[in-house]
């Protein structure tokens, strides 16, 4: 191929529009693809103050008018927004003389725009499924949910390859939509290690004093204070940990369970040992992660578990519950500790194991950091994605569509 490989990516969020995890995912993935020599066009929803077109580190970003009349409900808004997105993407594609090799949609939120364009331009189509309706809702309970579920199924049906960020999601999607194995591809999510490398040498002793006494080990939890994140399991494990060692539990985040958690802490007389910080800014969060003697991810349900990767990038030893995406990120006793899901005794055992054996903690911390560099590195993820594009383009070149176009 004489010119660069090019891809048009569809996403309903891209910075500064940040709603969930797709926005940073597209940001880092597109940047990394650009560095790997892929021309990327991101088509996304508009955001107040953000330009309709800009170039971000070599990535062409187009923000479309995302249907601003009142919509009857969220799903109908999504389909209406897709009408505009498809129209604008078709215009851009035609202005480029059709010279884009691949369409790539992220989640059902941009399914209809991508599917139509695939057929109109006859290009190979990729879908990344970050989450599913049946997973988010723990089942399908209404026509509204089934409509979204069927739109997701249609998206995966139309895609040449379906990308998931964990083996757990691959299995989940196989089950949810009955997809053949060879259609699915696992490419992990990444973590931006540069953000942690910055100020690595900075002395955090003074910062640490704001959160814990020098003789107290820091046990850190980061996440929404909701049931599925299992923070109550950690609070229940706290007294058992304190029987063995002196520690301070720092809980970052907010959520509907906060009052309930405070009640448990107060009634067990541990108010001086458990600190709730609420939301903190990125800088404070990274410093906390670097100070933490152990980072705990006690989730009951976790499709990926990016918070574990962040802790690993900050060189904090991690203890995770053996579930979902966390199960595959951590190799027990090698780069972290896995404990039984929803079991405070097991969690207390895992935390104590790290806090009472410095040599062990250093080993898993070092191995975990190495794993981040090798496996969850955006540079590598961009390369893997590019390879996948190239393989599919080679298959596509033998297809009826490609031959007809010549």
């Amino acid at each position: 191929m004489s010119r660069d490989l090019s891809v048009m990516m569809f996403s309903w969020e891209y910075p500064p529009r940040i709603i969930g995890g797709i926005s940073p995912h597209i940001y880092y993935l597109s940047k990394s693809l650009a560095r790997n020599g892929v021309k990327v066009y991101v088509i996304t929803c508009d955001f107040p103050g953000a330009p309709a077109h800009e170039v971000v580190d070599g990535v062409e970003v187009y923000r479309i008018d995302s249907y601003k009349n009142p919509a009857p409900d969220f799903a109908t808004w999504v389909y209406l927004m897709n009408v505009n997105m498809q129209k604008e993407a078709a215009t851009i594609m035609r202005s480029l003389g059709g010279r884009i090799d691949i369409f790539h949609a992220h989640d059902w939120l941009v399914a209809t725009a991508g599917i139509g364009l695939k057929h109109v331009f006859r290009k190979p189509f990729f879908a990344t499924v970050h989450s599913t309706e049946i997973g988010r809702r723990n089942g399908i309970h209404s026509d509204y949910e089934r409509m979204i579920h069927e739109t997701e199924a249609w998206l995966t049906y139309e895609a040449w390859k379906v990308v998931c960020c964990s083996d757990y999601m691959v299995q989940h999607i196989k089950w949810a939509f009955g997809l053949p194995t060879d259609k699915l591809m696992m490419i992990p999510n990444g973590v931006n290690i540069e953000a942690y490398k910055k100020n690595e040498k900075e002395d955090l002793a003074r910062f640490r004093k704001k959160y814990a006494l020098p003789e107290e080990k820091i046990v850190l939890f980061v996440g929404r204070l909701v049931y599925e994140k299992g923070v109550h399991v950690l609070v229940n494990a706290a007294p058992k940990v304190l029987e063995k060692t002196n520690a301070k539990f720092i809980i970052v985040g907010n959520g509907y369970m906060k009052d309930q958690l405070l009640n448990i802490v107060n009634s067990t007389g541990l108010a001086h040992k458990v600190m709730f910080t609420g939301f903190v800014d990125d800088d404070t969060l990274r410093k906390l992660q670097r100070c933490a003697d152990v980072s705990v991810v006690p989730s009951l349900f976790e499709p990926f578990g990016i918070v574990a990767l962040e802790a690993m990038a900050a060189r904090s030893p991690v203890v995770v519950s053996d579930t979902g995406g966390l199960s595959e990120i951590i190799n027990h006793d090698v780069d972290g500790v896995k404990v039984y899901t929803g079991n405070p005794d097991s969690l207390a055992w895992g935390i104590t194991r790290v806090l009472t054996n410095e040599q062990y903690a250093n080993t898993i911390r070092t191995n975990a950091y190495q794993k981040i560099l090798e496996k969850y590195n955006w540079e590598r993820i961009g390369q893997q994605t590019k390879n996948l594009y190239e393989n599919v383009l080679a298959e596509h070149s033998k297809s009826f569509w490609a031959q007809k176009a010549q």
Binding site: N69, P70, V83, A90, T112, W154
Partner: protein, 206 residues
């Protein structure tokens, strides 16, 4: 001349008057040496079908089986309409001259096909949401009106069936009057008038 008509109803699926009109128009266009494709919806007769009168019919169905209303149903069906139209386009060496979209349902597809493949389209108006919903302005009605508006904005020309409808279209949607042409429903003669409009659009498009 090769034309594609997009219509959400076509015999044997009859919802209102539009079905009969489209059937008559397509048959008459064929008699007037126009290669005519009709892309329409049917729940289970999906696929291609050559009618005895020479109209090539392609029926598509909705891959999303469960819906909460006509709006979501229409917005997911449009992708299948695009797929069928693209198949006609590529299988006839890109020789599609014009698309004639009947009412609002498939105007999103017509707009994408215009932007993507450069095929001009005419929007034929059978009825308007303003009248169907008696001026209701809920988010649901507004969404349908916005789709009608998009179609009117992007179309090269609007065809209506009466003087009254022409005035209403201009009044409600502020369409430039010269964009709206009247072709009354007269089975014997209307195809010639519609064809004249097709030719005018192609002339202007060049």
């Amino acid at each position: 001349m090769q034309a594609i008509i997009l219509s959400w109803e076509y015999p044997p699926r009859i919802v209102g008057q539009l079905s009969d009109y489209v059937k008559t128009l397509a048959t008459q266009l064929v008699k007037n040496q126009t290669k005519t494709y009709v892309i329409t919806y049917h729940d289970y007769l999906a696929g291609e079908y050559d009618e005895p009168e020479g109209v090539k019919t392609i029926r598509v169905t909705n891959p999303v089986r469960t819906h909460i209303g006509v709006l979501t149903w229409v917005l997911t069906l449009n992708q299948e309409v695009e797929r069928a139209a693209a198949n006609v386009y590529y299988s006839t060496d890109k020789q599609v001259d014009i698309i004639d979209v009947q009412d609002w349902h498939f105007t999103p597809a017509a707009v994408t096909l215009k932007k993507a493949l450069g095929i001009p389209f005419i929007y034929s108006i059978e009825s308007l949401e303003e009248h169907r919903s008696r001026g209701a302005n809920s988010a649901f009605n507004m969404a349908i009106k916005s789709i009608e508006w998009l179609g009117m904005y992007e179309a090269e020309r609007l065809l209506v069936k009466s003087d009254w409808m022409r005035n209403e279209t201009i009044r409600i949607y502020k369409v430039p009057p010269e964009k709206v042409k009247i072709v009354p429903f007269q089975p014997s003669s209307m195809a010639k008038e519609v064809l004249e409009n097709y030719r005018d659009v192609l002339e202007e498009d060049r």
